[in-house]
Symmetry: C2
Subunit: 288 residues, 2 copies
């Protein structure tokens, strides 16, 4: 019994400014590093330090509101949750982690739950959603937004940005928008990409894809900003995409405006099959 492991799903968010990204790295403050250190403390008496697997391995400075991860606990570790004072079970683990994360409050685990059979935070995921925020009007330059919104010096043309976003939709080789990685495919399905102005006047792009390759969201929004400044047309964006080569006609925007907002999974009975298919097909690419 004690050798069987139990998978826990974590739903969490973070304000990425003070992190060197998600992935654990020696000597750097990372989200995975902070969380695994806390888990190691919580389970120090009951077996090996638990390791996290994540849906979206976000880059330096990128935020998340809807990140998903999983961790496997031994039956003994699971049992230790049931008996700990003030912590009656798996659901209370979220509060224990948040309490142990301390005063900085830039990570928050919203929920911990028993994962359904076959669930893998990374490989079961069907799609990822990101948003990118740009304050292009001085009135929207609220300093409270500064850490998660790009300041842009001049007003952008929302319609032109949406025209550019639209030509990028669909199943394509996004090599023009991806930081090249050896042996990694850059074929992705961009399922949604739309800009809106929120009630505070901030431009918000919302994007969804099966997965994004490295720097892809920041390059896609960069192409739209070039269109919004009137520097390139939607037609030209389409040509640049079709060329499947990196270009200097638009910029890769800074990480600070980017947030992972949601990860989608199939119904429980399809989780295992989905994970198997994804694992077979791809390697190490769900990075934004």
């Amino acid at each position: 019994m004690l050798s069987e492991s139990v998978r826990i799903r974590l739903d969490l968010g973070y304000e990425g400014t003070d992190f060197s990204g998600w992935a654990r790295q020696p000597g750097l403050r990372t989200v995975q590093g902070e969380l695994e250190a806390v888990l190691a403390r919580i389970f120090s008496r009951t077996g090996p330090a638990p390791l996290l697997t994540v849906a979206g391995r976000t880059d330096v400075g990128v935020h998340a509101t809807g990140q998903v991860a999983h961790v496997d606990l031994t039956a003994e570790q699971l049992a230790s949750l049931g008996t700990a004072r003030r912590s009656p079970g798996v659901e209370a683990l979220a509060r224990r982690i948040d309490g142990a994360l301390g005063a900085r409050r830039d990570i928050e685990v919203a929920r911990t739950s028993l994962a359904p059979a076959g669930f893998d935070a990374r490989f079961s995921a069907l799609w990822r959603r990101y948003e990118y925020r740009i304050a292009d009007a001085p009135a929207a330059h609220d300093p409270r937004r500064r850490r998660h919104t790009l300041w842009h010096p001049a007003e952008l043309d929302l319609e032109a940005m949406n025209d550019a976003a639209e030509v990028l939709l669909g199943l394509h080789d996004f090599a023009s928008f991806c930081k090249p990685r050896e042996l990694a495919t850059t074929i992705r399905e961009l399922q949604a990409f739309r800009w809106e102005r929120d009630e505070d006047g901030v431009l918000v792009a919302r994007l969804q894809a099966d997965a994004f390759c490295h720097s892809m969201v920041r390059a896609l929004v960069g192409a739209c900003v070039a269109a919004g400044e009137g520097r390139i047309t939607a037609g030209r964006v389409d040509e640049l995409r079709a060329a499947e080569q990196r270009t200097s006609e638009f910029k890769v925007l800074p990480a600070l405006g980017l947030t992972l907002t949601e990860v989608g999974y199939p119904p429980d009975e399809e989780l295992a099959a989905r994970a198997e298919r994804t694992r077979a097909r791809r390697d190490s690419e769900n990075v934004a």
Copy 2:
């Protein structure tokens, strides 16, 4: 000519988390301290280091989006702006300050302008507006808001909060809501106080008064939260206010949810008279 001084108005904002409030204090990072250090550098060759006067001397951890300050420059200092490379005048001073403030980006001077005759950022002000933000639903617990929004563990009753806010309106002695200071009056006119839920589900209180005494906004919103939790009625809030004594029936809420959003001034021709009246009437109380 060189001995005459010229008054400059600064419109600015800051994310207060990493500041020990507005007011300069030796050894602590404060908004005034950072700004005056930058001004001293900009004007190091042309006379005395300029000192700031502010409309709302915000407390430790309080934010501002619509703060107003003034600074007096000598004619020589003013002239130095006109000739500096890339800085053709008073309007460009804002960008020079922002550039000199460095990478932390938690202060932003939005505008610098020649102040009209008789203008005093503090004593000419007619009213101050603040907002207080509370995320009472887990869905609103976006970690990007964590530094400027209070997390509340359970849903609050918006209508009960507005009932409580309404009984507090008007000209009263707000001693029940003010941190006592010797010889200082606690009579204030609360001109507006209303709670709303924004599009993200965050509860936002907006308050306006001629001025607020120390901790007053945070105590007023604390009384409303007690009402929103069903712990006290609007009638009881009214009684507590009328008692003109500090109470433990509600809490003074933490600074992090509080933002100074706007300062109101009379038409230019009334600025000097207003400043004179205010100066005569009060001493050192515009602190929130």
